[in-house]
């Protein structure tokens, strides 16, 4: 199979993730979409790693996974904190800060 397919798939993943960030209003779903975007990067790293035949990409992907997890943890923590303050869980409502 050609490398192109992996690239296209990863690009699709990235796009889907980005579109998710653009259209979804629930912060939890937005966090999910962010994970998708990171996975897109991870996928292409893996693909290139296979193509190039060196292991660097695969090591990189491991790290990316850890980082992604950390990000989500902090994100969810903030979501919980907001929930406990009974703030609406809607990214469109987060516009105290503007201008």
């Amino acid at each position: 199979m050609d490398i192109e397919w992996y690239i296209v798939l990863s690009a699709l993943l990235f796009t889907v993730g980005f579109i998710g960030v653009l259209v979804r209003r629930n912060p939890v779903v937005v966090l999910l979409c962010l994970e998708l975007m990171l996975s897109a990067g991870a996928l292409s790293l893996l693909a290139f790693s296979r193509m190039l035949g060196n292991q660097d990409g695969q090591v990189f992907v491991l790290i990316v996974l850890v980082v992604a997890a950390c990000e989500v943890v902090v994100g969810l923590g903030l979501v919980v904190a907001m929930y406990r303050r009974r703030l609406p869980l809607d990214v469109d409502e987060m516009k105290e800060l503007k201008g």
Binding site: V21, L22, V23, V91, D92, M94, K95, E96, K98, G99
Partner: protein
Amino acid sequence: MTATWAWLVLLFPLLGSLTIGLTFKALPDRTAGLIGVAAIVAAFVCGVLALIGLQGEPSESRHVASSLWEYANVGGLKIDLGIYVDPLSIFMVLVVTGVSSLIHIYSYSYMKSDQGYHRFFSYLNFFVFSMLVLVLAGNFVMLIVGWALVGFASYALISYWYRRNTATKAGMKAFVINVIGDIGLYIAAILIFKNLGSVDYGTVFEKAPEVFSTNQWEIVAICLCLLVGAFAKSAQMPFHTWLADAMEGPTPVSSLIHAATMVTAGVYLIARCHTLFELAPTAADVAAFVGLATLLIAGTIALAVTDLKRIIAYSTMSQIGYMFVGVGIGAYSAGMFHLMTHAFFKALLFMAAGSIISAMANMQDIDKMKGFRKAMPFTAATLIIGALALSGFPGMSGWFSKDEIIDFAHFRRGMYDWMWVGMLIGALMTAIYSFRIIFRILPGPACEEAQYLIDKGHVIHGEPKNPATNEVEDTEVGYPGEEHHIAEQAGGMKFAMAILAFLSIVAGVLQIPGVDEVVTKFLEPTFENSVFAHMHPSTGEAWLGLTEGGLISIAGIAIAWLLYIKRPDLPGKFRQRFSAIHTLCVNKWYGDELVDFLVTNPVKAVGRFCNRVFERFAIDGATAGVAGLTRSAGAAVRDIQSGMLRGYALLMLFGILAIAVYFLIRSL
């Protein structure tokens, strides 16, 4: 030695001015007045000593240049603080200091009840200093300095009663017009430097004939620029409008500055620069024609207006017109001679007028004056002498001087014959308006003020009014009150007027054709290089001219007698019959309005345009526009910054896409 005396001539008035000015709190009034008089008399004495020194030199080397220090020197334009003494300047020095001395003496009494006595004498001394700088200047820049300083002194003295609105306005007008004249001189001096490489009289007059051919455009331009200065200072058309308004100043000022000395500076300038004007005959003709036009127009105005001082002022313009014609057509010594005699009799006329005006409680309208012959016999006598001299009555000084100019024009023939005719008409008018004053004021039943003077022996105390607008004003402007002196009762005034009256009568002896011709001979060293130096009418022709002049003068007096004594109803009839002409003359040929229309209003309009339109819309508008643009850009940035997270993500997407597209295009 001559130079030293000349410097001393300059020094005394300056010292006097400074002393009086700086000690205004310390010295009593009378002392200040005495210092002022003494300074000028000392200057006169030094002038005489300089004259003696100069006459001691042989005729061909009768000029001295002297410099105190280098005033400025850049790029070859070297300006010395220097004077140039020759018969012409000494002649002027003597006229100026002589007449000034007398007017100072007159003022010493006349201004007695004025509050600004120190200020007056300080200014007056300063004026004399400036005038002497003007006549003694050794180069064109010094000439400009003197030229402008007399303008300043004139301004200060016109606005002397500075709390009078009309006086300050008049001062401003005089000053600004004079500055315009100064600019003419600036440009002339710069042109002279550019073409001749120097501004020193000696060098300039020596080199000019070598550098310029006759009527070469540069020399014509130089002379025309000089003429702008001369016209402005001497109140010739079209710069004449300030002089009548200048009568707002105290009468001695009118007498000294606006009759005897400063206003004749233009004549002096042309005479001084005759070398240049002879290289540019066109310019000289311009001077002569403008002089002619002025003398005719001013004459008609003098026939119509009723303000005593303004009649004399227009007469001054008219007489200076004669002088311009004189120096314009090459009759230099005649012009200078007329300058001198005019100084005498016009100063005298003003002094007499001042005496009458103070008796009239500051009223200047001749319609209201009557019967002063009995009330003020001495003043009346001097007034008559002045009028006779002015109208060129045979035997009087004015007869010799004015008719010499008129005669020279006839002598030069050609188009100058037209000038001759014009000047004769002018002479007729002169005689009429001179005696209009006499016949309106002196004879007849005494008017209220004159009667008061006869009865009470002192000046009537009227409510202080502005003579020009009849507005009531505060007394602190130096209004002549009861204590004010009039010629009849003040020794100083009487003395000055007596001497001037004497000179007005006899000064003509100096220049009797074919007999002595003192002035011509005295000035000969200055004008010896002139093409007209040895051109003058024969004695016979001269006497023929004098006869014509005398007849015209007598005719004029007769007409005046007819109009104002014999048939006093006639002037009214004429006024009705020729109401258009009368209106024109009373309104001074609409000179002010013309200047307003052509110059003042456009300039003011430009100012208004700059202020209200350009500054507001172009300058402030551009500033506000740029600021507004920046602000609206800021507003746009803030609008995009909506706080909406998804909006931010969208903008990022655009950013990413833009960069991706950029690189994709580059990679192709």
